[in-house]
């Protein structure tokens, strides 16, 4: 019993270390939830056994049985977690992909760059921002990604200058279709512009962009919607539905199954980026804007997932691999 208590303590310390990483990794968050539940039950039960004087034999037997169950569950859970961590690349906080580095810069600025707003802003402002990050240690590949993202930001800011755009937003509400109609811009550009406004002006706005392979190349998070870091997102996302029918916008109320989260509104559209040529067509990209739930009046809520490995949805035609939640835990 003492040994079990000590091992439980070690497990708790492991959990504390991993907790910091949860915010960025939904796989880890869901697998760990199972392990934590087992640890919590074992801790509470074993201290009852250790601390309660004159515990009735029926209770003692019952609590012994519970600990036995939970420790089996903990063993399976810990093994599944180790298998997952070993198999997953770039889990170490020190080893970041260039995409992670680029997103960290954007997140640190809340996805808004005042330097790129206003008529005076130009490519030099982009170069200065990238240079400043390079001096703080941003890697070469991440500088390239940041340069590309900020150049697109600059183009968007020129096409839809902030003050008139905000005035329209106040008048029309966060309605991308009407904003696009009023400004003559494309939906994808309006999505990006909404996601680049200061939070105080536009409220919470999330945005995901994927390329034709489904890889998430841009992620601006929003509360209540988890996103895997690169590939392997849920195929039920409206983002991918839009990708299968370019130029036909999709609007859905969605909720990620098993996360205890709230519903959210997802608006998605896919289309070619750039003009393309006769040798090679323009690449297609899909954008998905995420807004707070508009409420019951806007239709039923679709259950979607984060990624198959951690998804509890049982009967799903889009599933591509079994969930470790069902198997390992």
């Amino acid at each position: 019993m003492t040994e079990l208590y000590r091992r439980n303590g070690e497990m708790e310390r492991t959990i504390e270390t991993l907790t910091d990483r949860l915010a960025h990794d939904p796989f880890l968050a869901d697998s760990l939830h199972e392990v934590i539940s087992a640890v919590t039950a074992i801790r509470a039960t074993s201290s009852i056994l250790v601390e309660t004087e004159e515990l009735e034999p029926e209770w003692t037997a019952r609590f012994h049985r519970n600990i036995n169950e939970d420790s089996a569950r903990l063993t399976e859970g810990a093994q599944a977690l180790v298998k997952y961590l070993e198999g997953a690349p770039n889990r170490d906080a020190e080893v970041q992909s260039p995409q992670d580095e680029m997103h960290a810069v954007l997140a640190a600025r809340s996805f808004h760059f005042a330097e790129l707003e206003g008529e005076a802003a130009g490519p030099r402002a982009v170069a200065r921002l990238v240079q400043a990050e390079a001096e703080r240690g941003l890697s070469g590949p991440a500088q390239t990604l940041l340069g590309a993202v900020l150049t697109r930001y600059l183009e968007d800011a020129r096409a839809l200058p902030m003050d008139p755009f905000l005035a329209r937003l106040r008048k029309l509400g966060p309605n991308p279709a009407r904003l696009a109609e009023a400004t003559g811009a494309g939906l994808a550009q309006v999505f990006r512009r909404l996601a680049a406004l200061p939070g105080a002006e536009a409220g919470p706005v999330g945005l995901v962009i994927c390329d034709a392979s489904g890889t998430l190349i841009f992620r601006k998070p929003i509360d209540g919607f988890a996103m895997p870091r690169l590939a392997g997102a849920c195929a039920l996302w409206p983002l991918y539905q839009a990708m299968s029918q370019p130029l036909a916008p999709v609007r859905r109320r969605v909720r990620q199954a098993g996360r205890g989260g709230e519903a959210i509104e997802a608006l998605a559209v896919a289309g070619p980026e750039g003009a393309g040529g006769f040798e090679r067509p323009a690449p297609v990209r899909a954008h998905m804007l995420l807004l707070p739930d508009p409420g019951e009046a806007h239709g039923a809520v679709d259950e979607i997932g984060v990624s198959c490995r951690i998804c509890p949805l049982a009967a799903c035609a889009a599933r591509r691999e079994p969930s470790i939640l069902a198997e390992g835990f």
Partner: protein, 122 residues
Amino acid sequence: MGKTVLLIEDEPNIIEAVSFILSRDGWEVKTHANGHDAMDAVRRRAPDLIILDVMLPGKSGFDILGEIRGDADFAAVPVLMLTARGQTRDREMAERAGASRYMTKPFSNADVLDAVRALAGE
């Protein structure tokens, strides 16, 4: 007559352990294991204190807390929230939703007793 605590949690062995500890401390413990009809359970049991897990099948603990706080009969009942996620975001969401107190799993039995006693004394 003891005071009543309603424990809304979906892990059977956690329910059993926490119920045991609290009943030994003089509480009458009622339990409920899912999110869908948790608010019905609150109305039926009319507890003096509620312990609410954040991750429940059917409905999020935050939504249930919102319903509890939105009901004039229960707006003032102390609610202790439990979560397995140690993220600051959860803590902020719990505070915003009106939790009286917040506890991260795994917790010790002494933590539960202290929290419950402190809430009961307020």
